[in-house]
Symmetry: C2
């Protein structure tokens, strides 16, 4: 039994005294202790070494006091497992020396045995669960097939992922073959995470908002729905689609336990688009954590007022920025915790 089960109760839609709070990318980036580890170990070493992943995952629970932990890892471990090489390049970010930009390369991508290729993630989950000692739940995650596809085809981050979209629009057959391989791998990967002990799962669709509503259904949503279908009877699944306000209604009927929203979608719009039928998570502008702490407190209380304290998980609308002072991150978390007494 998890001692602090606020997060799991909010996912079930139960009435709570205050909403739970966690922050996307909370496991690092802005924490000085994380930055020290970053100097000593490169990115994928941190992902692949269970002791390091555990240490980073637990940090924000101890130092900032969030109500849930999210495993330190990366969405790009999935293409790596599919035999698609991924590096993390200083100043560039994800870098794929051989983008999947041809029929031959789409064919070469494999649906791997996840225990062989991603066993280190499962080891990290088991070790983290021990370290957390049932204090708070542990969230596992994966990128959406579309978001992984974007990096796999483009070969790096991009303003508009034009090469990825070009494959969809000029060779939809190839695009769907690759998307299905990513989906199959992701489902197996997330089932393994459930077996290893995570308490909830989140699918990150970082780039779904670059598609038109029609193209979103074809190239992103249908694959996320496959993932939700495969997992929803086993564990609560949160789907976060950045910029995907236009799909919220359909997403609310998917069987997901909760939906993440970004800060461009007001709480009122998010509740209206989902017919107030589902737990929502979000949506503080990460840049707004640069405001003075007293402003943060006020804005967080207003955000909770607008979403309502039930069926709600307080979070940012996207990942925390590396330049946020720790005191400001703490102010965010404390504001949620003080909500009932304000």
């Amino acid at each position: 039994m998890i001692k602090n089960d606020l997060f799991l109760r909010a996912l079930k839609g139960e009435t709570v005294q205050r909403p739970p709070v966690w922050m996307m990318r909370q496991a690092g980036r802005y924490l000085p202790d994380f930055m020290k580890l970053k100097e000593k170990y490169d990115f994928f070493t941190r992902c692949r070494t269970p002791e390091l992943a555990t240490e980073i995952t637990v940090m924000p629970i101890e130092q900032v006091g969030t109500d849930a932990a999210i495993l330190f890892s990366d969405i790009l471990v999935v293409p790596q497992a599919m035999d698609i090489e991924v590096e993390m390049k200083q100043g560039v970010g994800p870098w794929l020396p051989n983008p999947v930009n041809s029929e031959k390369r789409v064919e070469a991508a494999i649906v791997p045995d996840v225990n062989e290729t991603l066993g280190y993630v499962y080891d990290a989950i088991k070790l983290t669960k021990q370290a957390l000692n049932d204090e708070v739940p542990l969230i596992g995650f994966a990128g959406s097939p579309w978001t992984i596809f974007c990096y796999a085809v483009q070969g790096q981050g991009s303003k508009n992922f034009d090469k990825a979209k070009a494959m969809c629009f000029s060779r939809p057959d190839l695009a769907h073959t690759l998307l299905q391989k990513i989906t199959d791998t992701t489902i197996a990967y997330l089932k393994g995470k459930i077996d290893a002990g995570v308490d909830a799962l989140q699918v990150f669709d970082s780039w779904g908002g670059m598609l038109s509503p029609v193209d979103y259904q074809e190239f992103s949503w249908q694959y996320i729905q496959q993932i939700v279908d495969a997992l929803k009877d086993h564990i609560p699944v949160i789907v976060f689609g950045k910029g995907c306000w236009f799909a919220l209604e359909k997403m609310s009927k998917s069987g997901a336990a909760a939906l993440g929203v970004d800060w461009t979608c007001s709480p009122r719009n998010a509740r209206a688009f989902t017919n107030n039928s589902i737990t929502l998570q979000g949506n503080f502008d990460p840049s707004r954590l640069l405001s003075p702490p007293k402003d943060i407190t006020k804005m967080v209380h207003q955000m909770i007022d607008e979403f309502g304290k039930d069926k709600y998980i307080a979070n940012l609308g996207h990942g925390i920025l590396p330049n946020i002072p720790v005191e400001h991150a703490k102010a965010f978390v404390e504001a949620v915790k003080s909500y009932p007494d304000r």
Copy 2:
């Protein structure tokens, strides 16, 4: 009198046989003749030489057959006129060696005499009007104050313009001082464009969609409203806010003649958000021009069906991409022109 006045009639909301069509960034980038000029003259030379700006502006009218011309220029000529240095760096894009990131630099930014600093734009307008010979209307444009502010403070393009947002949220007083200076300059600049002979104006708010609805009102919309207020009795003003679906209702009551929408906002949503009260412009995904021409034709006809042929200007949802084959751009324009006979 303009011979092809479809565009101006759509701006007035008149009944038309088919919608007018033009493309954002149509003046160049994807046209081989433009690429030849690009090899010979650097970016700001092309902007500052009326003969070159005219040649580029007229190109898509002759080669692709759009119903309106848009002056070849750049939104960053405004900060240049304000004594903020702007370069166009190969492979980087806009590059400001001295970003406006301090109180001292905000103070140093001037509201210039636009005739002195931007007279070359007015000369280009006069020459272009002669070259167009009243065949089609000429659109002038400016960036929104917020979008100019983003570049001025950040110093270059950015995924999230974190430095620009940081100034807004930590030093709102400074941010508003700079935004007001940009607004004052922009109003004077656009009044000069009217005097020089443009037939309509468009304000591009490329980065408004990165703000929450509340912050959008404070840091972007109130300044755009000042511009609309100053110009609307003299000329039709189109406001295009990329990602600004959440503000469409308010924008529809601003006095603007038309609103641009991007491809993430379906025609049905755009009409609903604006209570079907205003001319809309958009919203074909620029990447969708990579589809085969026969698919483009079908999708364009569907787009017109969904927006309705009246109170509508067919366009892309953002600028045309440089790698679009000219035949595909022509297919887009031809699809609009063939709409009544399909």
